[in-house]
Each structure stands twice: as C-alpha cells, then as structure tokens.
C-alpha cells in the first residue's frame, strides 16, 4: 500500500543517516516525484546540515497560506495529563515548545479523543498534528517516538502489597481495576492479560470514555484507587504517573511485567506525534525539532511524571 511505503520511507533509524535523504532527494528528482516528496527530502537534508535553522519556512511553503505561521494542533479539551482547554497538559506544553521552535502561533481544534477523532480533526484538515499517538498507529504518519512508556500498576502507597507482575499470585485476591474500550471486543492490554490468567470476577471495568461532563473522564479509575474502591488499577503510564502526584493520598506506580505477552500483547508502547499520511514535510520538521529539543521534551515529560521505560531507541540527529 502506498501509505505503508511512505511510512516505511519516513521511519526507521536508517533515515537518520544523512546519506539516505540525499539519495531520496536524488531519486525523487530523477523519478519526477511530487513536490511534497522533494521538499520532504530537502527538509531533512537541511535539518541535518543546519540543525538550528528555521525549518518552519519550508513547511509553511506547502501547508499554510503564505505569510501565515500557524501550528494547528488537534487535541482533546478534557483529558489530563495529556491536554485540556486550559493548556495544562504535557501535550499542550509540547505543542508550545514546537510552536516556539517554528516561530508559529499555536491554534487548537478541540475534539474528544474517541473513535472518529482523527477522521474529524486531522483528516478533516481542521488541524495538522496530534501531539501523541502510538508510533505504529495506522491512521497517521508518525514522527520518530519521543517517549516510550508502559502500563503500570497503581496502588495506594500504604497498601500492604507491592505488585510488579501480572503473575503475582496476590492479584487473585485483590479488586483490580482496568480500563475498557469495547472496540470490537478488544480492550486495554491489562484487561486481556487478566482474562488470560482467568481473572474475571475480581476485575472491575472503568470505561475509558467515562462521563464527559466531568473533568478528565478517563481518570475515574485512579480516583477509585485513592478512595479504596479498588486495590489496584492497571493503567497507561502517563495517566498513572500524573494522578499519582495529584490524588489526595499518596499512590505507588510500578511498571507492569512482562513488557510483552505472547503471542502479541504489548504493555509498552512508543509514542510519536502524528500528521496526515501525506504531510511528510511537516512530519520531518517535527522530527528535527524533537531531536533538537530532546532535553526540553524530556524535561516536560519528567515534570508530568510520565513513567519512561527507556529512551526511545533512536539516535539524536545531532
């Protein structure tokens, strides 16, 4: 599929070698590829040569009206710690960082990040970038991952048990909360891990959709741990990490193990920024900024308590 090959061209560590984009540039010219592809290659080459240069200029030549500098971000207005309308989430901070690097104004398109989110925002072209998406998410062209996190066990810090593995026998005696999605019978990886181990009766589901009239609807599961409704929640790292800092009682956050369960149930995911599949020039601009501002990105993630598994396995462009 064309989208797949575009993606393959644009991802992977090899792309970081200066030679590859230059070859691509030459090939694009020779084969008469579309202008965006040439610009994409040219952008990367420029980035490698002059890392501190203003990459935004090239980008705006192809995706915005002349003279206008706008970073249009698609985001959920009510989903801390990721984003909210008040700009308090770490994805808000990352958007500000990127906009600053581009010398662009920041503009949001708000939409609940549910089924149809990409279709109604990014694909409807009302905005150009989502600040967080799994690197292997099919619906977008993803940047190189800028963090890797993991599902975590969240318990009260004063709990008499410390759980780090789905195979811990104590789990069978606990009330376990997981988030449910209900996407054609798929749910969060912990939900499947527990059913794989025969744990069903002691598992309580919290819909990730929650009640949208409340603040940060996916966070109810963390509230439930704090209130003692459940003994342990198994949630995606950033959610656990942030609310562990903000609940009235102290919570403990421990990464799950294993990291992947066979045949195919990962608990660790790489997260990227995402753009429309064809907007590879913007994608590369973002990649260059993420590489150049690695320290700033890490600092934001740390501030929000995002549990990190390890640094993304991609070398710094510099």
């Amino acid at each position: 599929m064309s989208s797949r090959s575009d993606h393959a061209l644009g991802s992977g560590a090899e792309r970081m070698l200066l030679a590859i984009p230059l070859v691509a540039l030459a090939a694009a010219a020779a084969w008469g590829r579309p202008a965006t592809r040439e610009l994409h290659a040219a952008t990367v080459a420029t980035a490698a040569d002059t890392a501190a240069s203003d990459l935004g200029v090239l980008q705006w030549a192809i995706s915005a009206r002349p003279g206008e500098r706008l970073l249009r971000v698609c985001a959920d207005p009510n989903n801390m710690p990721f984003s909210n309308r008040a700009g308090e989430g770490f994805e808000n901070k990352l958007a500000e960082l990127v906009a600053g690097e581009m010398h662009a104004d920041l503009q949001y398109t708000w939409w609940a990040q549910r089924r149809g989110f990409i279709r109604n925002t990014l694909k409807a072209e009302s905005c150009d970038v989502v600040m967080g998406a799994p690197t292997s998410f099919e619906l977008v062209a993803a940047t190189r991952p800028y963090y890797r996190s993991t599902y975590v066990f969240v318990t009260r810090a004063d709990a008499p048990f410390r759980i780090g593995s789905f195979d811990d026998p104590v789990l069978k005696r606990l009330r376990i909360g997981v988030q449910i999605i209900g996407d054609d019978y798929a749910n969060t990886p912990p939900a499947h891990a527990l059913s794989n181990r025969g744990m069903t009766g002691n598992v309580r589901g919290y819909t990730v959709y929650g009640d949208y009239s409340e603040p940060n609807p996916p966070a109810r599961i963390i509230d439930a741990v704090a209130k003692g409704d459940i003994d342990v929640a198994v949630v995606w790292g950033p959610l656990g990490g942030w609310f562990a800092q903000h609940e009235p009682v102290k919570l403990r956050v421990v990464p799950v193990s294993p990291q992947i369960e066979l045949p195919y149930l990962p608990f660790v995911f790489d997260i990227s920024m995402g753009v429309r599949r064809q907007d590879l020039a913007l994608r590369d601009t973002l990649d260059a900024i993420l590489a150049r501002r690695r320290a700033g990105v890490d600092s934001i993630l740390k501030e929000y308590g995002v549990p990190r598994v390890e640094r993304p396995a991609v070398p710094n462009v510099r």
């Binding site: 089924r115 009766g201 589901g205």
Partner: protein
C-alpha cells in the same frame, strides 16, 4: 476467499443450498463440485422441523388481527402497525402498471448523513425526521409540490455527534394523539404538536456524556411511549423506558442487565427455556459487576400484541468487555423480552445469542403473525436474526418453533430446539492475537436493523439483508483518549456468491427462500409490501425498485440522488391516488465510508465495514432527499 466446499455447503439449509452452490461454482470452478453435490444429498437440516407446518397448512399466515388496523391510507408509525407488517392494503399500484410510476415531488432535508427514517403521513400532512440535528419537517400534501408547513429543531447537543456510534441516524417518528413523537441523538424524547410544530414536551431520558445516544423509533401503546438507548460500545447499560404520552413523564424503566428489580422481573416472569430461568441472571451471568456496563441496549424495533397485551423488543450485544473477560451468558443481552406495557414487568425472555462473541445485536424487528401449525392456529412472531436464522416463536410463551438459516452461517451449526441454545462453532470465536478468517455472517449479521415486510397475500416475508463475512485480526496499535492498545479488527467482505446484498422473499410456512434478488451492496433499506402485490426497496447505489411480490421480477426502478438506506412507505394522497415515498441519503454503519468521508484505505474503519464498501464512494455521494412517486 472461502475455499472449502464443506465450508460453503456444510450448514446451509437444503432448499437454499442448491442455488448457493450453483452461484459459487460459477464463480470458482476449481471448487470440487462433487463435494457440494454429495453433501447436499445426505446432509440433514440443522434444525428439526416443527409439527408438519408445511403440509398441513390450510392457509397463509395472517397478520395478528389485534395488532393491525383497517388501512385508511395513512402511515402513522414506521412499522405501519403493531405487528410490524409494513404491509399496506392500498392496491392501485400493481405489477401491470408499476412501470408507469412517475416522480410526484421531492424535498431536500438539508442534512447529509445517513437517512434511515420513513416519512409519516397523517391526514394530508407528511412528516420527516432527519438524522442529527434531528429536524422535523411537516409538508402539506394538499398543495402542488407539497410545500413545507413548518420545521421543528430540537436543538440537540452538538457534542452528541462525537460520541454516537456508527452514524448519526434516526430510524423514525411516530404519530399519536395529535403529536409527532421521536428521539434525538443526544438522548431526548420529544413530542411536537402535529398541527403547528410547537414542542409539547421534551424529556431527557439518556445521558449523552456517558455515550448514551438514541436512534430508534419509539412505539406508542396504551398511552405510553416506549423508547430505548444506543451506545453499547461505550459501556452503556441498556434499557427500555416508558413515558406518559401526554406529559412525557417517565413511567418505568427496565434495564437489560442487573438484578431482577432493575430488569423488572417478578412473579409473572416465565421464560420457556431453562437457560433463561433463575433469579438475578442479569447479575449472575456476568463476572463481578461487569453487568453495570454490560450493554444490551435497545435501539431496534418494538412490536405490541393488544390481545395478549405484550410488548416485544430485542436487546443489543453485550459489551464493552472482550468475550474472554465476561464468562457467562451475559443476560439479558442479545435476546428478546415480552413485557407488560403498563408496568414493564417481564413475562418472558429468550436469548438468541448467549455470550455473544460476534457483535450479534438482537434488536431486529419481529413480525406478529397467526399461523396454522399442526392443525391449529399458533400465535407466532417471526424474526430474521443477526445470527443468521429466521426464528418462528410462540409469542405467548417464547418457545422457539423453528430456527432456519436464511443465508450462509458458519459461526454456529444451528439452534437446539430442546434447550433453545444456539450451537456455536467455537473455531470462529474471535481471540486476541489470533487471526480468524471467514467468519460468516459478519458483525452486522445476516440482517441488521433494516426492517422486513410481510404480505398476507403471498405468505412471504420480504427480507432486505446483507451477505458478508469477516476476518478478525489484531492491529498493531489503536488509541483512544490517550490510551494505546492492540485493537481487534474485523474486515468485512462479500460472502459466498460474491454479492454483498440480498433482497429475499422468505416463505414463512415452508421455511425457505421463494426467490431473491442479489445486489452489489448490502441492502440496507427497509421494505414495503402492498396489496397490489408490489414490494419496494432501495439500494445503496441509489436505485429505488418496485418488484413483483410473487416472483421477484423488477417492474420499475428509479435512480435517486444518493444511496438508499431509508424505509419506503405508501399512502393515499388527498387526491385519492396511491403514493410511494422513500428517503434517499446514504450513511449508517454500512454507508459510513460516504457519510463520514472515511478514507477507503482505512479498511478497518467503521468497525470493519469500510473494507467491504471501498467502491461505495464511486456509486453514491451524500445527500438527504425525499422522493415521492405515483402512477
């Protein structure tokens, strides 16, 4: 592709199998013909015959007398009558003159999403309810071109678009006591004065912030309005709610899961089969408190038998857990209730698909018929179900009298009439991390919400449906509300024969297909039967068709502007002539690729339906338009 002759012929009922095999052989000559032919001769029907219905029948089944009305040429509820016959006694349009049908007038609704509703005709006014934002239009049939009298806007919550599953459809309004009553996507039931369009009452019955939307057409009986919710995908707990038709006040609510007190199960509850008997099954057939978010939403069709004083309706699939995480039957999802309309008390229940694993919502229409069986008249309901079987049930008791496949089914091998249990084929069960291929029928089932019609003149049930199978597999990563996960993805594709849609005339007594028309796209429209022996339906590529009710000959067709997923009706105009009306406007689950501007490369979008509909954008664009025809 389906490649095994056993797979193709193994479980299909004998009468229909022959033609299926013939079609398939034409398609793929490499398939071992001997396999098909041999199996045909020695294969036993999967469901036992009941009594000797076919041979001893003295007449064709009739529409339950108490549940139908003398046809006065109006169309007051989507089902036409309480029996869900969608049959009109108007007979000016016949197989001889149908070719002379001409466009009488049109009306643009100004809305572009999927138009699944039928118009209503009350006296000399036509009413149209649109998809979200759920406008109600009144058209004056006494004047040339049927000009608009007024438009009512319920001012539905815009955010409901983001949380409604599938498409923002509405399946119709109902007329009662000088009011037009319908549901809005954001969870309100509204009653509008039929004369001047002012709002009489507006009751919030669902919570859109929980993902609870409303798309179904209400039914009104004994002064109560019965409505149900949608949104099982979001962890919504299903219910049927009764409102006072005069005031809009909620009279009772019966949940589809939970303790008997919530489900309104008491001393009158007498399910026929052991599988449905017991205390608090709505809790006990789930692990932990999974019932609290267990689905079983009520977004389909209701029927009512005034003589038995029983209300009938189906419940949606269980959710939103993956099947492995909800061991048990998951009562009372994917089944049918019979209730007392006055207090909501359950009288019986039967579960079509226990512990559903395939998204087989149980919400389709049930047609109430009186039928000669074994020398006596049985009060039955006939139901073409998602799981692929036409059920004939005793509607007084909930006993299944027969269950016969009406297309190719391999997710189950039949229905055990002794226990009432669907006999699943476990090799087709979806499982995380496992690729399961050629699952038939696919999630929309053999037939989805699109309602059938019954003609007492032919004894045939006219079934618009689909012929789709699916593959299940995992995708690398999906993302919802900041949470990554491995998605289970279905991709739908045409079933045996290669055509995705079927318009089928089903012989109710002999439990077999009388004739059928194959369509390129799923037949997602409703249908209409008339005493002129002409039946009507529409296709997703926009053709509205008049068909000879007896032999399936297409008598006339008209290409509308957009694909048709609406419900045709007929009425007698102020000039005494018979008119036929249909709304065109593609969308819904099947048409989401057009109505939602979905990229055809996203083969797993719309829960897998897009894969089967990649060519729809070339065949139909968006656009809501009413078309009315007459001779």
């Amino acid at each position: 592709m389906l490649a095994s002759p056993k797979l193709l012929c193994g479980t299909f009922s004998a009468p229909a199998r022959t033609s299926r095999c013939a079609r398939l052989l034409a398609l793929a000559a490499v398939i071992a013909t001997a396999g098909c032919l041999k199996e045909k001769s020695d294969d036993k029907p999967v469901t036992a015959a009941v009594s000797s219905a076919a041979s001893s029948a003295t007449g064709l089944p009739t529409i339950a007398a108490a549940a139908t009305t003398a046809d006065d040429g109006q169309w007051l509820m989507p089902q036409k009558d309480y029996a869900n016959s969608r049959y009109s006694s108007l007979a000016q349009i016949t197989p001889d003159n149908a070719k002379n049908l001409k466009l009488a007038f049109t009306f643009s609704t100004g809305v572009l999403r999927g138009h699944e509703a039928p118009p209503l005709v009350v006296g000399s006014t036509m009413y149209i309810v649109t998809p979200f934002p759920n406008y109600l239009y009144a058209l004056d049939l006494t004047k040339p071109g049927a000009p608009m009298k007024w438009r009512y806007d319920p001012r539905a919550d815009m955010s409901s678009q983001g949380v409604a599953c599938c498409d923002v459809v509405n399946r119709g309004a109902v007329y009662f006591d000088n009011k037009i009553i319908y549901n809005t996507l954001d969870g309100h039931t509204v009653a509008v004065d039929a004369n001047d369009g002012h709002e009489v009452w507006n009751t919030k019955v669902g919570n859109i912030n929980l993902g609870e939307s409303m798309t179904m057409a209400p039914l009104v009986a004994k002064g109560k309005v019965f409505v149900g919710n949608s949104g099982g995908e979001f962890g919504v707990r299903g219910w049927l709610t009764a409102l006072d038709a005069g005031s809009g006040k909620i009279a009772w609510r019966a949940y589809s899961t939970g303790p008997d007190t919530d489900v309104l199960i008491g001393s009158r509850f007498k399910p026929f089969y052991a599988q449905d008997q017991g205390k608090d099954l709505g809790v006990k057939s789930w692990p932990g408190d999974a019932w609290r978010t267990g689905g079983g939403t009520v977004w389909g069709w209701l029927a009512y038998d005034p003589e038995l004083d029983l209300l009938y309706y189906g419940t949606g699939n269980p959710g939103p857990w993956n099947p492995e995480q909800r061991p048990g039957d998951n009562k009372f999802s994917s089944g049918i209730f019979a209730r007392d309309p006055d207090d909501g008390q359950a009288v019986w229940y039967y579960q079509w698909s226990f512990h559903d694993m395939f998204d087989y919502d149980g919400i389709n229409e049930q047609t109430l018929l009186d039928m000669q069986m074994g020398g006596k008249t049985r009060k039955v309901l006939v139901r073409a179900e998602r799981n692929g079987y036409v059920y004939v049930m005793d509607r007084t008791s909930g006993e299944v009298l027969s269950a016969t496949p009406f297309g190719f089914v391999n997710t189950s091998t039949g229905v055990d009439l002794k226990t009432g249990r669907l006999m699943y084929a476990m090799d087709k069960a979806p499982q995380m991390g496992k690729v399961v291929r050629d699952v038939c029928p696919s999630s929309p089932g053999m037939k989805d919400w699109q309602p059938s019609a019954y003609s007492p003149r032919t004894g045939l049930l006219y079934l618009p449906h689909q012929n789709l199978c699916m593959d299940h597999e995992a995708v690398e990563a999906s993302y919802i509300a900041g949470t990554p996960y491995v998605g289970m993805i279905s991709k739908f594709f045409a079933g045996p024969g290669g055509k995705r849609g079927v318009y089928q005339a089903w012989d109710v007594v002999n439990r077999k297909e009388k004739w059928s028309i194959q369509e390129e796209f799923p037949v997602w429209s409703g249908t209409l039967a008339t005493a002129g022996d002409v039946v009507f339906y529409g296709t997703m590529d926009g053709w509205f068709k008049a068909v000879d009710a007896r032999n399936g000959t297409v008598l006339w067709s008209f290409k509308t502007g957009s694909g048709i997923i609406g419900q045709p009706i007929t009425y007698r105009g102020p000039d005494g002539k018979q008119y036929v009306a249909i709304e065109s406007g593609v969308g819904g689950w099947s048409g989401a690729i057009v109505a939602g501007n979905i990229d055809p490369r996203d083969s797993t979008a719309a829960l897998g339906f897009v894969n089967a509909m990649k060519d729809l954008p070339k065949a139909s664009t968006k656009g809501g338009m009413l078309y009315v025809f007459t001779l």
